[in-house]
Symmetry: C2
Subunit: 431 residues, 2 copies
C-alpha cells in the first residue's frame, strides 16, 4: 500500500496489519500526521498536538511486544478528557494551559490497549452549545456538530482512525451524523467517567467514533472490557434483527433528506429483517426531551459550580443562561425528575421484549450551514436520558451532498448485540 494512504485504513484493518507487524505504528502515525498537516488549517479539529510524543509512543510500540487490541492505532481524545501529557481546556478559556495531574480513565484504558495519542480534539465549551473552531470536513462552510466536534471531524477526514467523545444530550450521535462517521454511545454506566469533565451524573457517557461499525466495536470492547463487542464471528455473520421503527414523537422534525433516508432504510431492511414494524411509543412515557433538558440544566449548573461562580465573565452568554436557569430549579423538582427518569427507563425496557433494535433519526437533517452553532440535539436527548446504547449509521447524502443517516438504539447492556445489528444494517444500507 502506498504509505501516504495508511491513514485511510479502517482501524480494524490497520490493527490486524499492526499485530502481524505488516504495518508499523510509526508509518501509520506518519500517514495520519501528513493528513493532519494537509487538512488541519481548514478543518481545525485539534486544540493541541504533540507529534514528538506520539512518534516516541509509536516507536516504542514498534520495538516492543504487542500491547493489545489498539496496538499502534492513533486515537483522537476530545478535550473534555483529562490528559497528563497534554493540556486540557474543556473548550473554555477558563482552563487555557491547564495541565491535569492524571489521564482520564478512558484514556488510560486505550493507552493500555496500545493506542497512540497525537492530540486533543476540539470540544464545544464544556461540551455545551458554544462552538469551537472546527469545520465540517465534508463542507467547510458547515458545522461538524458538537460537542465532540473535533473527534468526529478528524475521523471523517481520515486524520485519525478512531476518536473518543462524550454524550450528555447528543454530543456523539449528532457530530457523527453531520460528519458521516459511525458514532457509538455505549449503555450508560459501562465506561468509567473518571477524568472526563463531569456535567451530569445522570447523563454523561463516554462514546467513540470510527469510520465503520467494526472500528467502534474494536475500541468499544476495550472501554467496556467486554470482548463480546468485538466478536469476529458475530460481526462477520450477524443474525437478522427484529427492527422496531421508532421515529419518536418528534418525527415531524425530520426533514426531507432524513425522511428519504428513513424510507430507504425501511425498504432495504424490511425484506431481510427477522421483523420490521412500528415500535409503539408508550402512552405513559413522559416527554423525554423536556425531562432531559431539565435534568441536564439542574445538574450542569451544579456540577460546574466552580466555573459558574469563579469564572462567570469568561463563560459564553448561552452557558451563563443555562446556569441561571439551572440554579433556579428546585432540588425537590429535580428529585421528581429523577424519579420520572427511572420510571421512563423501566418503561423503555419493554420495547426490547419485541425488538432487538429501534431505528430512529439521529438529526433533523444534514449539517446546517455556518459554524456559529452545532445543530439541534433534539433526536438524541431522549435516548441519552434512557441510558440506552446507540449507534449512528452513516449511509446517505442530503440535498447539499452532506452526510445523512439514522441511529439504532438497543437494550441497556446489549451493546454487543447492537453492534452486530449495526453491522447487519450497514451491509444492507450501503450495499
Amino acid at each position: 500500500m502506498n504509505p501516504q494512504r495508511h491513514n485511510e485504513l479502517d482501524a480494524w484493518q490497520a490493527a490486524r496489519l499492526l499485530a502481524r507487524r505488516e504495518l508499523s505504528a510509526v508509518d501509520l502515525l506518519r500517514a495520519c500526521l501528513d493528513r493532519i498537516a494537509e487538512r488541519e488549517p481548514q478543518v481545525q479539529a485539534f486544540v493541541h498536538m504533540d507529534e514528538a510524543a506520539a512518534l516516541a509512543q509509536a516507536q516504542a510500540l514498534d520495538a516492543g511486544p504487542w500491547r493489545g487490541p489498539l496496538h499502534g492505532l492513533p486515537l483522537g481524545v476530545k478535550d473534555l478528557f483529562d490528559t497528563a501529557g497534554q493540556p486540557t481546556a474543556y473548550g473554555s478559556p477558563v482552563y487555557a494551559g491547564h495541565r491535569p495531574a492524571a489521564d482520564a480513565a478512558a484514556v488510560v484504558l486505550c493507552l493500555e490497549a496500545g493506542a497512540v495519542l497525537p492530540g486533543k480534539t476540539v470540544t464545544t465549551e464544556f461540551a455545551y452549545f458554544h462552538p469551537g473552531p472546527t469545520r465540517n470536513p465534508k463542507n467547510l462552510a458547515h458545522t461538524p456538530g458538537g460537542s465532540s466536534s473535533g473527534s468526529a471531524a478528524a475521523v471523517a477526514d481520515h486524520m485519525l482512525p478512531l476518536a473518543l467523545g462524550t454524550q450528555t444530550a447528543a454530543s456523539v450521535i449528532r457530530p457523527a451524523a453531520f460528519c458521516g462517521v459511525v458514532g457509538f454511545k455505549p449503555s450508560l454506566g459501562r465506561v468509567p467517567l473518571a477524568g472526563a469533565k463531569s456535567l451530569s451524573v445522570t447523563l454523561d457517557t463516554v462514546g467513540m467514533f470510527g469510520r465503520c461499525v467494526r472500528d467502534v466495536a474494536l475500541i468499544g470492547a476495550v472501554l467496556t472490557a467486554d470482548a463480546r463487542l468485538d466478536d469476529d464471528s458475530a460481526l462477520s455473520a450477524p443474525p437478522a434483527p427484529r427492527i422496531g421503527l421508532c421515529p419518536t414523537p418528534d418525527a415531524v422534525q425530520m426533514d426531507a433528506d432524513v425522511q428519504a433516508a428513513w424510507a430507504h432504510a425501511v425498504r432495504v431492511l424490511a425484506p431481510a429483517a427477522a421483523a420490521l414494524r412500528d415500535a409503539p411509543w408508550p402512552a405513559a412515557m413522559p416527554d423525554l426531551v423536556v425531562l432531559q433538558k431539565a435534568v441536564m440544566t439542574f445538574e450542569m449548573a451544579r456540577s460546574l459550580s466552580h466555573e459558574r461562580t469563579a469564572h462567570r465573565a469568561a463563560l459564553s452568554e448561552r452557558l451563563r443562561g443555562l446556569f441561571d436557569e439551572g440554579v433556579a430549579i428546585d432540588g425537590a423538582a429535580h428529585a421528581a425528575n429523577l424519579h420520572a427518569t427511572a420510571a421512563a427507563r423501566r418503561l423503555a425496557a419493554a420495547w426490547f421484549d419485541d425488538f432487538d433494535l429501534l431505528l430512529a433519526p439521529s438529526a433533523l437533517g444534514e449539517a446546517p450551514a455556518g459554524v456559529e452553532a452545532t445543530g439541534d440535539p433534539l433526536f438524541s436527548r431522549g435516548w441519552s436520558l434512557l441510558g440506552l446504547p446507540c449507534v449512528h449509521l452513516p449511509f446517505a447524502r442530503g440535498r447539499n451532498g452532506l452526510p445523512v443517516g439514522l441511529q439504532i438504539v438497543g437494550r441497556w447492556g446489549d451493546d454487543h448485540r447492537l453492534l452486530a445489528a449495526a453491522q447487519w444494517c450497514m451491509a444492507r444500507l450501503t450495499g
Copy 2:
C-alpha cells in the same frame, strides 16, 4: 456564652446566632481552631489546614451580607474532594502536594451558602481500606472508621460543627457510628460528584456529618438544593413513622452491643411508632454484599486506571490487590451485575409501600481497637448498592464506652422524610 465553647454549639444553633449577628464567624472559627490546636496532635483529623485563609473568609462574612444557610459555619472537607485553595492528595502519596485547578462542586455549593473552610480532613487511601493517621476521639487507641475518618473524628471531637464525606461502601455511616455522630448519605445521584475523586459511578455518593439530625439536615438541604430537608416544622414536630425492622441477612454479625442497642430501639420506638414490625427481606433479592463488592471492584480498578498503571509502587498492597482483582473481572459479568443492581433497586422500592423507614445496623459493634484497619463495611454495602438515603443515629454506648447506634434507611428521594423520621427517632432513643 463562654467564647471557647462556641465550638460545642450544634451547627443549626450556631447558624441562627450567626444570622442574627449574635455570634461572629470569627469567634466561632477561633473556638474551633483552639479546639483543633488542643486536640489535633492526638486525633490527627486533618491533612492540611489554612487558618489564615479561613480567618479571612470569616472576617469577610462578618463584614458582609448574610450569604446563606451555612453562613459562618466552619466545614471540614474530606481530602477526596478537590480544593483549589488547599492541596488535595486523596489519601495517597501519589498526590502529595497536588493542587487542583477547581473546587469540587459540593465544596462550592457549601461556600456559596457561606461555609468557612479551615482544612482538609483525612481520608483512607483513595477512600479504600488503607487507613490514614486519624484516631477515634472517644478513645485514641481505636479506629475512627473510614474512609471519611477525619471528617467524622473532627465533628465528634467538637473541632468543627460540620464535615463532608463520601460513601461508596460504608464510608459515611461506619465512621459516624464509630465516632458517635450523625452521618447522612443522601439518595444516590442527588448531590453533584464533580471534583470528588471518582471511584465507582454506580456507587459514589457525597455524604455529611453533624452532631445532631438538624445539622445534617441544614447542610443536606444546601447540597441537594431541596429546602424540604431542613423544614423547621417537619423537624420540630415530625410525624410518627411506620418502621420496618430490617437487620439484613447478616444480622448474625451484630455483636452484643449492637443487639442491645437494637433491643432498646425496638422497646422505645414501638409504642409511639405508627407501625413497627419486621420488614421481610425479598426472596428474590440478590446477595447485595457480594454484588456491591463485585461492582465496586470492577469500577475502582478502572476509574483509578491512572493510579493503577502509573503509580503501582506507591499504592498499598491492599489497593494493588483490589486492582488485580478488578481488572480480572470481565465487562460482560459487570454488565450482568449492573442489571442485577437495577433489579435489586426496583425490588427495594416495594419496602416503602409499607414502611417509611427501615431500621438496620450501621456496624458490627463499637470501633475496633487499633488504627491499622477501619472496621468492617458489611452493613452498609447493600444500602450503598441500592442507592437509598441513610442516616446513622448515635444513641448508645458499648462495652468499652465507645459509641454504638443504628442506621435508618428511606425511600429513594425521600431524604426529607427520612431526616424528619431521624429526628423523631432520636428524640425517643436519647430521651
